[in-house]
């Protein structure tokens, strides 16, 4: 599915103009929607992303099934609800892209993070990372993963989106 940036209607991959409002869809890259980002359509606000600076507030006691992504160069810890697909990318209001993990806040644009870069999916207690044909690639511990092929990730793995490095933590 792709989403029209003008009216937010979901459109089939390959659609050239939005069937609802007639907007051109040519520059909208198709990517899988996360269920989380679908829910955001109604509120128009990014949810899930919690910005808790490590040094001031230590990570609160978390329930067992949460995961965190720690941005290495800024130390920002992003705590996430587990159990849902999570889109990693950069927020773009105009195109209606609201990723669960918005790396635009961490210099994602300069680091080459795509708007819809990758997706983290729970898989029977474990997690899979899938690159969404991003422009600059997704890496696990320095190894580039093939686009659109979900690859398992473990606690402590170093994930790289473009040139932005994050640590994946299971709590």
């Amino acid at each position: 599915m792709i989403r029209c940036r003008n009216c937010q209607a979901n459109q089939m991959n390959g659609a050239i103009f939005c069937s609802e409002c007639g907007e051109s869809l040519l520059n909208v890259r198709p990517a899988r929607e996360t269920t989380a980002s679908l829910n955001q359509q109604s509120s128009d606000m990014p949810v899930v992303v919690e910005d808790v600076p490590e040094e001031t507030t230590p990570a609160p006691l978390l329930a067992l099934n949460t995961i965190s992504l720690v941005v290495i160069n800024s130390g920002r810890r992003i705590n996430l609800e587990a159990g849902e697909e999570l889109l990693v990318g950069r927020k773009d209001n105009q195109r209606g892209i609201f990723p669960d993990v918005d790396l635009g806040l961490d210099g994602g644009y300069d680091a080459g993070v795509s708007r819809r870069h990758a997706i983290i999916t729970p898989d029977h207690g474990a997690y899979l990372l899938e690159d969404l044909s991003s422009a600059n690639g997704t890496f696990i511990n320095g190894r580039r993963i093939a686009p659109q092929s979900p690859t398992p990730i473990q606690h402590g793995d170093e994930l790289r989106f473009g040139t932005l490095i994050l640590r994946f933590e299971l709590n």
């Binding site: 089939m12 390959g14 409002c21 007639g22 040519l26 093939a146 686009p147 659109q148």
Partner: protein
């Protein structure tokens, strides 16, 4: 090689990524005559002119109509039939159906037509249907050419019913509206069949040209009973079919059985370039080359005594790993799609206006303007944007602007609509 019709297709994208979702592909289907001798015997034409002679036609309009009718008398061959019906508060047969052998007599009858009274179309249409059924023709093209400049009151339902009866008997209708007062909803409903159409004439000076062009078109009909069949691979779907040349019109499709869609395309005047735009849903497919749709065009060439002919085309699609796929789309397909989208948007806008959704209608018109600009139809785009501004300011549209946009976006007007940009 035997004469026939050839099919040619262009896909919006011929390579698709191997994703696990359905994808949409647009297909531009162009059909062209192949090996049809230029001297193929013309099909006889059975033409009935139905002329509004209400008082508003007085002056230049009626004079132009008479000139045009005289020109038609000269254009017809001795194998053709002509009849002429006029209507105001009542209707009369001015020229009963006959072969145009005594041309001076016919012209004398035409010159006697005078404008007076009101507009009652249905009786005129009824007489036209009666006259077109007099000639006994084994084969040929029957057509009613209706010209009106006003609204008919109280007999709209009958007009539509008579038009349907005529179309059901193979008599097509060309409905021409002149000026700003005529009822486009009525004429469009009357001509909402594959063998009929409505056209908008902005000034009396165009009447002769449009009349004679229409007779040329009808004389150039060489293929009849065109039917398109689309067999789609399992999991796929034909989402829509629209004619884009010579003018834009949605073509009704019927899902005859699982994965088989059919549609009637009517007669084919050889002077018209024919092109269609199909929206095809492609199911998820593994990397490789796959047949997607099998298109079959069935038709008859009565002039060459070739009935029940068939042309075939199998559309194939390549699927590749998504990393290797770019999102470039074919420019010609995009151009026609852009115009089709503009047409759909304005049609939606008028529905919104009817329902009182002014904001929604304004948005649609503005977007239609954008699409037209990008498709290179600058003048029409301006007309659309002016109308959008008028609508947002006053909540109303102008009758003339609406007609210009309706027929302009379809490519059914002299001037702006007809200039086809080749890409």
């Amino acid at each position: 090689m035997a004469p026939g019709i050839q099919l040619r297709s262009t896909l919006s994208r011929s390579l698709l990524p191997d994703i696990t979702e359905e994808q949409l592909v647009y297909v531009l289907l162009e059909v062209s005559a192949h090996g049809v001798p230029t001297n193929i015997s013309k099909l006889p034409l059975n033409l009935c002119l139905v002329i509004d002679r209400s008082s508003s036609m007085r002056g230049e309009r009626l004079q132009q109509v008479k000139d045009a009718a005289n020109r038609i008398v000269d254009m017809l061959t001795d194998d053709d039939y002509l009849s002429l019906v006029t209507f105001n508060d009542r209707a009369e047969v001015v020229i009963p159906a006959q072969r145009p052998q005594h041309r001076p007599d016919l012209k004398r009858m035409i010159s006697g037509i005078e404008a007076a009274g009101g507009t009652e179309m249905a009786t005129g249409m009824a007489l036209a249907l009666q006259e077109t059924q007099r000639p006994l023709m084994g084969r040929g093209v029957s057509r009613i050419l209706l010209l009106t400049d006003g609204r008919t009151y109280g007999d709209e339902g009958r007009c539509v019913e008579i038009a349907r009866r005529a179309q059901g008997r193979g008599v097509g209708l060309t409905a021409l509206g002149i000026g700003g007062e005529w009822n486009e909803d009525l004429l469009e409903t009357m001509s909402a069949r594959e063998n009929s159409r409505t056209q908008y004439i902005t000034s009396a000076a165009e009447i002769t040209q449009i009349f004679t062009d229409e007779v040329k078109r009808m004389h150039s009909v060489f293929a009849q009973d065109l039917q398109l069949r689309a067999e789609v691979r399992p999991g796929g779907m034909l989402r829509s079919l629209d004619r884009v040349r010579p003018f834009i019109a949605t073509v009704p499709i019927v899902e005859e059985k699982d994965l088989l869609w059919t549609s009637s395309l009517g007669d084919w005047p050889g002077t018209d370039p024919q092109a269609f735009l199909l929206e095809v849903v492609v199911p998820p497919l593994p990397a490789g080359d796959h047949p997607l749709v099998r298109l079959t065009l069935r038709y008859s060439l009565p002039g060459a005594n070739l009935m029940n002919q068939e042309g075939n085309l199998v559309l194939r699609i390549g699927v590749r790993p998504s990393a290797n796929i770019s999102y470039e789309v074919d420019a010609t397909v995009r151009h026609w799609l852009e115009r089709l989208v503009a047409y759909r948007l304005q049609a939606g806008a008028w529905q919104d206006v009817e329902a009182g959704r002014i904001e929604e209608a304004t948005r649609r018109l503005q977007m239609a303007g954008t699409r037209l600009f990008e498709a290179g139809q600058i003048d029409l785009a301006r007309t659309v944007q002016e109308e959008a501004t008028r609508l947002s300011r006053s909540g109303q549209t102008s009758a003339e602007g609406r007609k210009r946009i309706k027929y302009g976006t379809r490519g059914l007007m002299q001037g702006e609509g007809m200039q086809e940009r080749e890409v």
